[in-house]
């Protein structure tokens, strides 16, 4: 019979061993399955950035893209002692556009294990991490960055994004909620060396890329317009210039250019005032281009006809304690008032119209309020209520002084005349499309007013043709097409008084006159030497209008001699 002590000794070892293993197992299970405090695991969330949507022109060509790049950073702790630091710094500097000495300074300062040097879009940057025989201490992160492949072209319309890739001006700002998309994320766990424990991933949300915005503008015409503006400014030694081309029947904007402009990728290198789109954000005195609007209004009221005659005297007219000068003399009809741009004639028509009706028609043509274009920063212009006008005010507004308008407002008014009296809402975005091709938003032509009757519009169109054929706008004429338009020359207000040296020189018109397809306005700011709209703006209009007419394949309305064709 076994001794009692023998049984105890026999069972003690296995029981102790078993107990020990059970304890280890329980502890292992607890570590593996238990909900432990963060000190034992690393909770981790990784953001998956969404790609910002593209901005495209009306033909689908990209104007603003999202380009994948690599953020380059220095980590001194990973630097191998056998590697040559100046060589690494030089390579980093070359690929990020930084100064080599600055990179060296960062390496040697050892301030941080994450010193960002810049973003590179060059694939050679991969060698900094793959070529471990020569390089170390450098890390790369994938990033998405906004790029504008056309550089300064369309800068005022496109705008730019800030450092957080959010829209801060132009279309980027106005349509930011469509363009920005929704970032995704990964909720997971990392091990002790920072690698994700994939099996422990809690949540994955894929990023939703931004929608694409399609503009009504045409890249080819825009580039050509900017070239013409640059030449016009250089020729006139002017401070700046603007041009807009708009489709008459729909209100779509084909071209919107201005100079000085800027590079959207380097917007901080210019003063903030340059970011402003002068075509909608800057007001100017329209000068004689306002006469057409006043004449159209008076015709619509039945107060005058194209054959009505006015005696404009001998070049000066006293009214309301002020003198108005003119270069037209004697008895002239309304056609001649427009053709020769008679100040006194226009002032008399303005008086005939009366304050209340004049204000009503001006607002009916879209002046004094934003037109509602889908761009930020549109100015309303300056048009005070008729109740506050002085006695002389209607005579001055009739010749385009005492009222300030934007280039878009003036062009839109002329397009109204061209469009049978229908005032269209201007717009630059035709549609917004999701990355999968679904239409999210679509703009369509919209009539926002009818200030004059179609018959009156036709009468004014006919009168405006004579401006370019026999009047002040002869330099705006183009081969093969009839132009209807008006010149404008207005003094700028400097220190509260009209300047004798600073002028706005403008020309606004539409092509072809018989059945207008597009309207265009050209404004030159502070030309030197020749200062009138007919001398400075009309030639720019002529060159650009010919390009636009041919690009749109408009049928010629005036047969041209093929042997004499020049561009």
């Amino acid at each position: 019979m076994p001794v009692k002590g023998q049984r105890l000794r026999f069972w003690a070892v296995p029981v102790l061993l078993l107990g020990w293993y059970l304890l280890l197992g329980a502890r292992a299970a607890y570590l593996h399955l238990g909900d432990l405090a963060p000190r034992n695991r690393t909770e981790w969330t990784r953001r998956l950035p969404a790609a910002r949507g593209f901005i495209r022109d009306r033909a689908g060509r990209p104007l603003a893209i999202t380009q994948p790049g690599r953020r380059v950073f220095l980590d001194y702790s990973c630097l191998k002692p056998e590697h040559h630091v100046p060589e690494i710094a030089s390579a980093v500097a070359e690929l990020t556009g930084r100064d080599t000495d600055a990179v060296l300074l960062d390496f040697r300062s050892r301030r941080s294990k994450y010193m960002v040097q810049g973003i590179s879009f060059d694939d050679r940057v991969l060698a900094l991490v793959t070529n471990s025989a020569r390089y170390s201490g450098v890390g790369l992160e994938r990033v998405l960055r906004r790029q504008y492949p056309l550089g300064r072209c369309l800068s005022h319309v496109l705008g730019f994004v800030d450092r957080q890739q959010a829209g801060a001006a132009g279309i980027e700002q106005q349509y930011n909620r469509f363009l920005q998309g929704t970032d995704g994320f990964i909720d997971g766990t990392r091990d002790g060396v920072g690698r994700e424990i994939r099996a422990r991933r809690a949540t994955t949300a894929d990023p939703i890329d931004g929608a694409h915005v399609h503009l009504t503008l045409d890249q080819t015409l825009q580039l050509k317009a900017e070239q013409e503006l640059a030449e016009g400014v250089a020729h006139a030694q002017a401070a700046g210039a603007q041009v807009i081309v708009q489709m008459v029947k729909t209100g779509e904007i084909l071209v919107m250019a201005a100079t000085p402009d800027f590079d959207p990728e380097r917007y901080l290198e210019v003063p903030a005032v340059v970011w402003r789109n002068p075509n909608i954000g800057q007001v100017y005195d329209p000068g004689s281009t306002m006469k057409s609007v006043i004449v159209a209004s008076a015709l619509n009221e039945g107060l005058i006809t194209p054959d009505s005659v006015f005696d404009v005297g001998h070049g000066s007219w006293h009214y309301g304690g002020h003198v108005l000068h003119d270069k037209v003399y004697g008895r002239v009809d309304v056609r001649t008032i427009l053709k020769k741009s008679s100040n006194i004639g226009a002032a008399m028509i303005g008086l005939l119209l009366g304050n209340r009706r004049m204000e009503c028609y001006l607002r009916g043509f879209g002046f004094g309020a934003p037109l509602g274009i889908d761009l930020p920063g549109e100015e309303r212009g300056l048009l005070s209520p008729a109740s506050r006008w002085a006695m002389v005010t209607p005579t001055r507004i009739a010749i385009g002084q005492g009222i300030s308008v934007t280039a878009l407002q003036m062009l839109n008014a002329y397009c109204t005349i061209a469009n049978g009296g229908r005032l269209m809402r201007p717009y630059v975005v035709s549609k917004v499309v999701s990355p999968r091709g679904e239409k999210i938003l679509e703009n369509s032509p919209k009539v926002i007013g009818r200030p004059i009757r179609p018959a009156v519009a036709a009468q004014v169109r006919e009168m405006l043709v004579s401006v370019t054929e026999e009047g002040t706008g002869r330099r705006a004429a183009i081969e093969g097409y009839t132009i209807a338009g008006k010149t404008g020359t207005a003094q700028q207000v400097v220190d509260g008084a009209y300047s004798q040296t600073d002028y706005w020189a403008s020309f606004v018109g539409f092509v072809p006159a018989e059945d207008p397809v597009f309207g265009m306005i050209v404004i030159i700011d502070r030309p030197r030497g020749l200062r009138t709209g007919g001398a400075v703006s009309a030639p720019v209009f002529s060159r650009l209008a010919l390009v636009v007419a041919r690009y749109l394949e408009l049928p010629v309305t005036v047969p041209a001699d093929a042997e004499q064709e020049t561009l």
């Binding site: 197992g25 060509r61 990209p62 893209i65 380009q67 994948p68 580039l223 390009v547 041919r550 749109l552």
Partner: protein, 115 residues
């Protein structure tokens, strides 16, 4: 008293029930560890494939951008200059347009159809 009788030692081992339970627990534990190890290696593979997918998506986007930018006006102008082609826009009466067959030819100027 009988001599040379074999002594039989009556020892009681662990009860069968307890052994069975123990073996079951050990078996499940080993199976769990093996499965967990397999999951771990699979998840590592998935992570590697995800990284590869990100890399491919990165390259795809770059390539799409590169192709998209080849048709900008500036690029076309550069190409024309490289080949010594000096082209002008034709007059409207110099353009001959063929009528499209039903469901046929692409008209690049359709974008202006509303004028």
């Amino acid at each position: 008293m009988k001599r040379n009788r074999k002594k039989r030692v009556h020892a009681s081992l662990m009860p069968t029930r307890w052994v069975s339970v123990l073996l079951l627990v050990v078996g499940f534990s080993i199976a769990y560890v093996l499965l967990d190890s397999t999951c771990g290696s699979l998840s590592e593979r998935i992570r590697a494939l995800e990284a590869e997918q990100e890399d491919i998506a990165f390259k795809l986007r770059r390539e799409q951008n590169r192709w998209g930018l080849m048709t900008t006006t500036e690029q076309i102008d550069l190409a024309l200059n490289r080949h010594g082609l000096n082209m002008l826009l034709p007059r409207g009466d110099q353009v001959v347009r063929l009528d499209a067959a039903p469901g046929g030819v692409y008209r690049p100027r359709d974008q202006f159809a509303n004028r």
